[in-house]
């Protein structure tokens, strides 16, 4: 397998996600512009943070002047899932040099992570394949954020053409991809219930950590229950 064929294989796998991420990037840029960020600032955030969920949450809680403590902490809460994603993916990066490994996880997002995990189940995950998953996906996010921020004023309110719904829609499809039977249903119900409750009663981005923790607890509880039942 040459570098080129591996890269193309990765790129082909992520291509539909790249197209679906375009409206999301545009909406992010437009929302950022409506919150008073300049196109440069919106693009800089996409390039430096590169984590859509936390960027949308940041726009939700954005203030003037921006509070680095509140926003940094919110990003930490929203992205804490990367710790476990990285722990899982890290074991499949034997073909990576240390530098490739750390560069690789720095551009890890839900979408390319899920696809890298799927690849590792079938074949050795090569740096070239991972680059195919990550490079254009990253550039696309940054570029679409810039275009969205520039067009912001012209796009108007994203809600009128339903573009604000592109982000939840992609996440729903991704969630369905992780479906592994009723156990997943329990995780989803626990996560959604805790997230909505905490969102309603607690200000800030705690709802994401709360939902994730509740989903995790449901999975652990279910596992314990099953092992007890078997034993």
């Amino acid at each position: 397998m040459s570098w080129k064929t591996e890269f193309w294989a990765g790129l082909k796998t992520i291509a539909p996600i790249i197209v679906a991420a375009m409206p999301i990037g545009l909406v992010f840029g437009a929302v950022a512009a409506s919150k008073g960020l300049s196109p440069f600032e919106a693009t800089l955030m996409s390039a430096m943070v590169f984590a859509g969920g936390s960027q949308f949450v940041a726009m939700d809680i954005w203030t003037h002047p921006a509070s680095w403590t509140a926003l940094g902490f919110a990003a930490l809460l929203v992205n804490i899932r990367h710790v476990l994603m990285g722990a899982s993916l890290g074991r499949k990066l034997q073909a990576f040099s240390p530098l490739q490994k750390y560069l690789g996880v720095l551009v890890m997002a839900d979408e390319n992570w899920a696809m890298a995990e799927a690849r590792a189940q079938k074949a050795t995950l090569t740096p070239a394949y991972y680059a195919g998953l990550a490079v254009l996906f990253y550039c696309n996010w940054v570029a679409c954020s810039l275009i969205g921020a520039l067009l912001g004023a012209f796009l108007g309110d994203p809600a009128t053409i339903g573009l604000d719904f592109a982000f939840p829609a992609v996440f729903i499809v991704l969630v369905m991809g992780f479906w592994k039977g009723p156990a997943t249903g329990m995780v989803l119900i626990a996560s959604a219930a805790a997230s909505i409750l905490v969102h309603h009663f607690v200000p800030g981005a705690w709802y994401i950590a709360a939902g994730a923790a509740a989903g995790l607890a449901a999975a652990l509880f279910k596992g314990k229950f099953r092992r007890t039942a078997v034993a």
Partner: protein
């Protein structure tokens, strides 16, 4: 090209926090052995997190959004990602137009 000082600081804080979460997983591996229980928890993390991110917007905003989420989820059983997103966006527009 204008860059506000407070905005830059906030972006930097977000970037550092996010990079930390991405790097620490790989780092953690040296001290963590992944057994069956960890494996199960790990499997639950992506759906739990994705759901937690969208639940307030998707399920507690209004009927149009909630119903459109259901339609998108159903579409996801059969159709590729792009078609599902298009269907979801189209249905939310239609439902909002109906006044839901």
């Amino acid at each position: 090209m204008n860059l506000d000082y407070h905005t830059f600081l906030a972006i930097l804080a977000m970037a550092v926090a996010t990079a930390l979460t991405r790097l620490s997983g790989v780092f953690l591996l040296r001290y963590l052995s992944i057994g069956e229980e960890t494996r199960e928890a790990l499997d639950a993390i992506p759906p739990a997190v994705l759901m937690a991110v969208i639940a307030p917007t998707a399920l507690a905003t209004g009927w149009a959004e909630t119903i459109a989420c259901g339609i998108t989820g159903l579409a996801a059983l059969r159709l590729p990602l792009l078609a599902c997103v298009a269907i979801g966006v189209a249905s939310v527009v239609a439902l909002r137009a109906m006044g839901l």
